[in-house]
Amino acid sequence: MKNLGKLLRFLKPYKKWAFLAPSLIFLEVIMELFLPSIMANVVNVGIAEKNIGYIILHLGIMVILTVLGIVGGILSTYYSAKASGYFASDLRKELFHKISNLSFFNLDKIKTGHLVTIITNDITLIGSVLMLCLRFIFRVPVIVIGSLIMALTISPKLSMVLLILIPFMIVVVSIVMKKAFPYFQKMQDSVDEVNTVVRENLSGIRVVKAFVMEEHEIKRFEEVSQHLMDVTVKGTRIMVTALPIVMLFIHIATVLLLWYGGIEVNLGTLQVGDIMAFIEYLTNILTALMMASMVIVMLSRSEVSAFRINEILGLDQDLEDGKQALSLETMTGKLEFKNVSFAYDNGSGDAVLKNINFVVHPGETIGIIGGTGSGKSTLVNLIPRFYDVSSGEILIDDINIKDYRLSFIRKYVSIALQKPFLFSKTIRENLSYGNERATEEQLVNGAHIACAYEFIQEKGMDYVLEQRGVNLSGGQKQRLSLARAIISDPKILILDDTLSAVDMKTDHQIRTNLKPFLKDRTTIIVASKIASIMELDQILVLEDGEIVGKGTHQELMQHCQFYQELYHSQLERGEERGKSIES
């Protein structure tokens, strides 16, 4: 229960409710405790002596107690619902807050689906468990101890039956539970397996069909599905033994009470009503214990959830602003990489970038070209501090980016990604995402530059995009994301293979449109097509994380072998033929 305990701090603001809820249960419990003994009196005195007045008086007391109990029970439910509701929502908020402030170094380690499950399922479960706990935390011990005391006052001898049977039952039930617990985890794992196969088949159905692997997939599904069935059956079979056993204990205790009670009555040391009260107390104790075991099951199930929550809450906030972090009026945009090296996993992985050096001044555009895995995307991800360099430094306006406030850098650095992400909001909201105060004119202008205006006009600015922009083509999404970056009016603009899904004609048009916009900005264009960058002032050629060539197109054509290879494979023949046709 260590992990659940850690989460209790979120209950602090609501301690009043969290205290009231179990306290009010007291009323309910007291009533339950006194009813059997009053009943015993009614039977032993009232009925035996045929004293109607006595009977009515005691019935009156019972009614009052009952009403008090009802009030207590309802109020307790109310306060515990409130406390656990607020607790859960605070927990959710804290978790989300945490996530949105994590660095990508940490974020990359967590899968989106996992986080969503935590925020919805896990926290909801913990909320319900808290509710349960608040209402049973006092109830169970008070009933058990109270009933025992009441029983002892009636007959210490008969109480021995209870005192012996109860521990015995607890032991048996906990053995059953212990056996069943490992199966909960196995069941969960097995459910995950089934889900994996389904998910894969839903997203890969084209491949399955193309390779005619339907039978194979069905067999694969049947295997995991069968496994799920077997594990569930085994686990549940153990679990379902608990209840009949508990019931058996109740019944056997009843019979024992009857027998020993019968002997006592014969001896005249006990009355019939007492036996009846005893049986009631016994039932109360055992139902309370059953509830306790239910709470324990819920608690241990939620312990897994709590662990997952704590895992996230415990992550280091590794990209925090220093106390004297700078936030200047504006940024000029001079960008410099000084001996920058980088490896993922906090520098412990393989080096992705080695000793990168270059400078870009405002108004300049630098191109970065290289193969898959050459590190070009990683390089630009370091600029808005999505990741921190492992060694060396990145300077903006001659100051190390680690000395700025994070928000300052990100305000002036805009990055348009190859895999664009759009929100399920209107086109307008998406465009103005980086600049809420953008005027309609700015929006239209940005859209024009990115060659997105035409299809935006077709759909309308208030067209609502579906989740992940599925109602747009890949190229349209890329153009929207580029327009968004332009509208945010950055000082440093990074295009990370932004136009890979745009056809060549439009690509060319966009590059022409961009020229005036980029006049006093620093721009980095990452590309795999040479045509996209060959006209730029400076081109970096990246291979295996190292700069293997730097210069203009002409210079690289003379000195950089790798660049030449690329050029020949992509352009040469086409260009020659193009020329020969023109001439």
């Binding site: 309910e28 339950e32 009943m39 009614v42 009925i47 109607i52 009614v63 109990g69 009802i70 029970g73 309802i74 607020y86 859960a88 929502s89 989300f96 989106t112 986080l115 919805t120 909320g127 209402r135 459910v191 994996t196 389904v198 998910r199 894969e200 839903l202 084209r206 491949v207 069909k209 193309a210 390779f211 005619v212 069968q226 549940t236 379902v240 209840l243 009949p244 058996l248 009857l258 027998w259 019968g262 014969n266 019939v272 009503g273 009846m276 009631e280 895995g373 050459s374 928000s407 990100r410 992400f421 399920s424 995402y433 890979s500 060549m504 004609k505 795999s528 494979s569 992509q570 046709i581």
Partner: protein, 580 residues
């Protein structure tokens, strides 16, 4: 609460899954019957003991009765346990069949179904809906039988023992029933709202998680926390109410229980004083009152969960009832060996009726010819591929391979002859080797390596810590886009198809690797008819025939030189990359 549209039929169908094992169901029914009857008798025996044997000189009858009671309770315990034991298997087994049937049908469904339905929605039918059905089914059968029996049994025995006390016991039931129903309705309402709000929160958080890079790069962390909070607060308000109402059932239960208790004692003790009842009666009726209310309570909760299960089952059956439109003809023609002549004759197609995508496409491809499809987004390139593989059927016209109408051939046979590398490569959880072998299960280790070498994938696979046995995570998330492409290409090569389709397959691989792949592809395409959709001119240029598509029509065709000479659409497209 979500209501099932056709509860009777859905129930019948679910019952069909349950009744698969009649023998076991028979056992369950028998033991439930026994346990219920025995439980009804036991308190009666108790009351007899209290009234007649306790406090008597002769202890023997009491002893016999106690022993009888112990045996009876042991039998009850055993029957309860055995019913649960068997029932778990029955219900899990029927869930297994249901899941498998659903999955099997899913695998058979047309591609258009997957294009029109959201993945998350289909996913939830496998997870949430089946779980809900399972939860209800595993309990429903036993509980319905035992609850009804219990009600009847307890009523009968109560009236036999003491009609007045029986009436006093039953009087509280309507009140109790009314409360349970009221609370149930309210909590059902709020639970549905809670589910609704949870769903919204789910959507918002998923979107924000996937878009975290964008959120961070525009410094929108605080705004998104605020937005999240809105949904979070809304959820809190309804979930407090949902929890409150659903948990009120317990104190309400306790309250009604105690009122009933007091009532029985009141009536019972006064009647006993006047000699119309016994102390044993009181004891027995206290137990019977409990036994009478419990099944009502169970039936009430059961009603809600059965409703939910039926709604869930309908959603599951909805998928299972989806018609399969693209079916094989009754007497399919068989391909012996595919030469690779492909022709499209007057092919028309639209995904929806009034929006034609392809208009009158005519095409003749000879054996071994490579065809490049070029054109702007939405021109219909991918659609042609979808038709060639019969992922969709033509609206009009005919597609022939080796002169045989492909709609007359078994789909599976057709697809075995065609190899496809798609734009977004899909890898499965498993090893690299298993993924490459996907289209050719019986390929030897050597053949796998051979294919990878041709696809230029061997080099990077070889360098992995576990080589070909390295684990591919779900969706291949532990490989880069380029690596996934290479594996997919190796997979296609190993499948050794007669006709090859490459849908922008190389567009995500860097140019250098692409060049290497092209080499491998050339080798593979040699002698095979192939269709390529690519944005890169280097790929297009090497094709025998280039088809330029625009707005669903072939507007130009010919090889690279011929098309350039035409100075048409292709020429514009081509020149745009190089002019200054």
């Amino acid at each position: 609460m979500e209501k099932a549209l056709n509860p009777k039929q859905t129930m019948k169908r679910l019952w069909g899954y349950l009744k698969k094992d009649r023998l076991k169901l028979g056992f369950v029914t028998f033991f439930v019957l026994f346990a219920t009857v025995a439980s009804v008798i036991a308190p009666y025996l108790l009351s007899v003991a209290v009234d007649q044997f306790v406090g008597k000189e002769d202890m023997k009858p009491l002893l016999f009765l106690c022993i009888a009671l112990v045996i009876l309770y042991l039998l009850i315990t055993f029957s309860r346990w055995i019913t649960n034991y068997i029932m778990v298997r029955i219900s899990e087994q029927s869930m297994y069949y249901l899941r498998t049937d659903l999955f099997q049908h899913l695998e058979k469904l047309d591609l258009s179904f997957f294009d029109q339905h959201k993945k998350g929605d289909l996913m939830s039918r496998f997870t949430n809906d089946i779980t809900i059905i399972d939860d209800a089914l595993s309990e429903a059968v036993i509980q319905i039988i035992s609850s009804v029996l219990m009600l009847v049994g307890v009523t009968v025995i109560m009236f036999i023992m003491n009609p007045f006390l029986a009436l006093a016991t039953i009087v509280t039931v309507p009140i109790f029933f009314w409360i349970v129903v009221k609370i149930g309705v309210a909590s059902g309402k709020y639970f549905m709202k809670q589910q609704d709000n949870l769903g919204k929160l789910n959507g918002v958080s998923e979107e924000m998680m996937t878009g975290m890079r964008v959120i961070k790069s525009y410094c929108k962390e605080d705004e998104s926390v605020l937005e999240f909070e809105q949904y979070n607060n809304a959820l809190r308000e309804v979930s407090i109410k949902a929890e409150l109402y659903s948990n009120l059932v317990i104190p309400a239960n306790v309250a009604v229980n105690n009122i009933g208790y007091v009532l029985i004692i009141a009536v019972g003790s006064i009647m006993t004083v006047f000699g119309h009842a016994t102390v044993g009666n009181i004891l027995a009726f206290v137990t019977y009152a409990d036994m009478f209310r419990r099944p009502i309570n169970q039936l009430a909760t059961l009603y809600a969960s059965i409703q939910a299960a039926l709604a869930g089952a309908e959603r599951v059956f909805e998928v299972m009832d989806q018609p399969i439109e693209i079916v094989d003809v009754k007497e399919p023609i068989s391909f012996d060996h595919v030469e690779g002549f492909v022709s499209l004759e007057h092919v028309h197609f639209g995904y929806t009726k009034n929006k034609p995508i392809l208009k009158d496409i005519n095409l003749e491809v000879s054996k071994g010819e490579s065809v490049a499809l070029v054109g702007p987004t939405g021109a219909g390139k991918t659609t042609i591929i979808n038709l060639l593989t019969r992922f969709y059927d033509v609206s009009d016209g005919v597609i022939k391979i080796d002169g045989i109408d492909i709609s007359k051939v078994k789909q599976k046979e057709l697809r075995k002859k065609i190899g496809i590398v798609l734009q977004d490569t899909h890898l499965f959880k498993g090893t690299v080797k298993e993924n490459i072998r996907y289209g050719n299960k019986f390929a030897t280790e050597l053949e796998v390596i051979e294919a990878s070498k041709k696809a230029q994938a061997h080099q990077f696979i070889h360098r992995l810590p576990n080589g070909y046995d390295s684990i591919v995570e779900e969706e291949g998330s532990n490989f880069s886009e380029g690596e996934r492409q290479l594996i997919a290409i190796a997979r296609a090569i190993l499948a050794d198809p007669d006709i090859l389709i490459l849908d922008e397959a190389t567009s995500n691989v860097d140019t250098r690797t692409e060049l290497q792949i092209n080499q491998g592809m050339k080798e593979l395409m040699n002698g095979r008819t192939s269709f390529v959709i690519a944005h890169r001119l280097s790929t297009i240029r090497s094709a025998d025939t280039i088809l330029v598509l625009n707005h669903g029509e072939i507007i130009e065709r010919g090889n690279h030189e011929q098309l350039l000479a035409q100075k048409g659409f292709y020429y514009d497209l081509y020149m745009s990359q190089f002019e200054d």
